[in-house]
Point group: C2
Chain length 336, copies 2
């Protein structure tokens, strides 16, 4: 779905700080300013002072509404008039459906036929029209193209889009506005929209801040892309972190290459165990994709190994963690 271009041969300019400010002004009255919460027991377990930005409590249950609403609310009347189309089997689809309803235009969400029924139902609940296709990359692309051709709808890509990246950046911006003296921020990475936005939103406020991406071992394309310096694809993945199965796109790869300190990989067992720990101790529901961002910090010694600047007063480093979403099927929990 993304427009093919190579970051090697273009002078790609990521969204500016002004674009992020404009995005925030555009969407702030529509979305929740989600709480930043702490946990004494998780602090004790990790040896850090953790600040969790709760996008699981965001409208539509994930951060995706930030980018989707920024993109859709910034369209001209003419661009928006014939509606929106996108492909997604999850949170981006719900966010586009919701933001299109706010805008008063229809949204078509192309979904693989084998996506969980609960996700299609959620999209319809937000007013979206679900268009099923075969569960292949090709079918999703051709179905999306067909819907676009038939309806004249405007395409909103889940992450390879500057309006989306600027919108996602507002989560880290809010976190830094609330906790100004963080040493580092941790966010999950899939297509890289949230992590790119986190880099731009956090470093726009504190240029020296460290940003870490967290990724399942079973969907490690961002790790491979940043290690090799060449954009790698993720052909398929069965990670339980179902929001993290996409691959970086040219825009997000360019931003992450410049701004991310390191990608931390986690096993499926670590993801499940971290999710359960957060549910039990913090009493909030995070989806496995969110748990990926806290999982690496639960390994003994990891915080010390990150080489964060020593604090003069010897207190534990302050780390921000973005809980990206909370949409899970409560009929089949990950630890059953």
């Amino acid at each position: 779905m993304s427009t093919a271009f190579s970051v090697e041969t273009t002078n790609y300019q990521p969204p500016s700080w002004e674009a992020i400010l404009a995005a925030h002004a555009r969407i702030a009255s529509r979305i929740h300013r989600t709480p930043v919460v702490t946990s004494t027991s998780l602090n004790a377990m990790t040896g850090a002072q953790l600040f969790f930005k709760c996008e699981n409590l965001q409208k539509t249950g994930s951060f995706k509404i930030r980018g989707a609403s920024n993109a859709i609310l910034s369209l001209s009347e003419q661009e928006a008039a014939r509606g929106i189309v996108t492909q997604s089997s999850g949170n981006h689809g719900a966010a586009v459906a919701c933001a299109a309803t706010w805008r008063g235009v229809p949204a078509w969400i192309v979904m693989p036929r084998n996506a969980p029924a609960v996700k299609a139902k959620a999209i319809e609940g937000y007013g979206g029209k679900v268009v099923f296709c075969e569960p292949t990359v090709t079918a999703r692309k051709t179905t999306c193209d067909r819907v676009q051709a038939e309806t004249g709808a405007h395409l909103v890509h889940p992450y390879d889009d500057d309006r989306i990246i600027a919108g996602q950046a507002t989560a880290a911006k809010e976190l830094l506005e609330e906790v100004g003296d963080l040493h580092a921020v941790f966010a999950p990475v899939s297509g890289g929209g949230l992590l790119s936005g986190t880099c731009l939103g956090a470093k726009g406020i504190r240029a020296d801040l460290r940003v870490f991406g967290c990724e399942p071992e079973r969907a490690d394309d961002a790790y491979r892309s940043l290690t090799t310096g060449t954009l790698q694809s993720q052909d398929s993945s069965d990670t339980i972190a179902d929001g993290l199965r996409a691959s970086l796109a040219p825009r997000t790869f360019a931003i992450l290459r410049q701004h991310v300190d390191r990608i931390l990989l986690v096993s499926e067992e670590e993801i499940i165990s971290a999710a359960r720990l957060v549910w039990e101790r913090m009493k909030i529901i995070i989806e496995p994709s969110s748990a990926v961002a806290i999982a690496p910090l639960l390994r003994p010694g990891v915080v010390a190994s990150l080489n964060l600047p020593k604090r003069p007063d010897g207190t534990a480093p302050k780390l921000g963690v973005i809980f990206s979403g909370g949409n899970v099927d409560l009929s089949s929990l990950p630890w059953k």
Copy 2:
């Protein structure tokens, strides 16, 4: 465990507003000022503007730490010196263990032998010493007496205690401080500590506020007590709302008779369905006992039937709901 006295023959004076202010000053730095959250979808379902006071996000996972810490921190050195004893199979036990640790004294928690292992583990995690007994009312009382005789520990009853009631009142006080124009507040009722405190804490700020108690049909002693005007007991109950199996005590009965507008009863199915709805839509974990407070509002037409004062501008009434706790065993969810 409660001291027997009759409200008919005493001039019982509930905790004063000054006692509640003193309790709040005593405990505020130790506990969380829990967030008050809203949900667009639950507003739409109920026809009300709902404000949820999230004591499920409180330290130890429930409001019980408010009363327990007020009681334990207000003891003289001499009273506290030999530790604390109580009986509880759940949240009060964890709260007493935690508050005793803050005070630097031991706590003995008498629990029935058949209580879930996870609850004993939680109490031990907060530094409490678990003393198992046979699962009968008599065994719990005699074991508690024996521990008290052997150790000289100070008894802190779960609810028939003015220090406990004053502590629990701080939750509603915080809610009213945040949303001053509520029309009514809903809280679950078991032994009546939280509901009594809710009456005193809320009406201390807004004398005309309506207070509703919510109770499982299967543990309806408060409903029966207030209907008959005589304190009724609950011999046993198998309600899934495991925090609501106790009976009113003389103190709480006296306060509820004076201040509660009505007790609303809910079925087991309504409790389970309300809990699941909150988990799914609000992404926070509440225990079934918490769900009891929102369950009646989900019945069609209930909000209109409460005879709340008409609002001049025609907007929906503002209702506060106290989510009392979030301690559930994630291995066996209520809807499995």
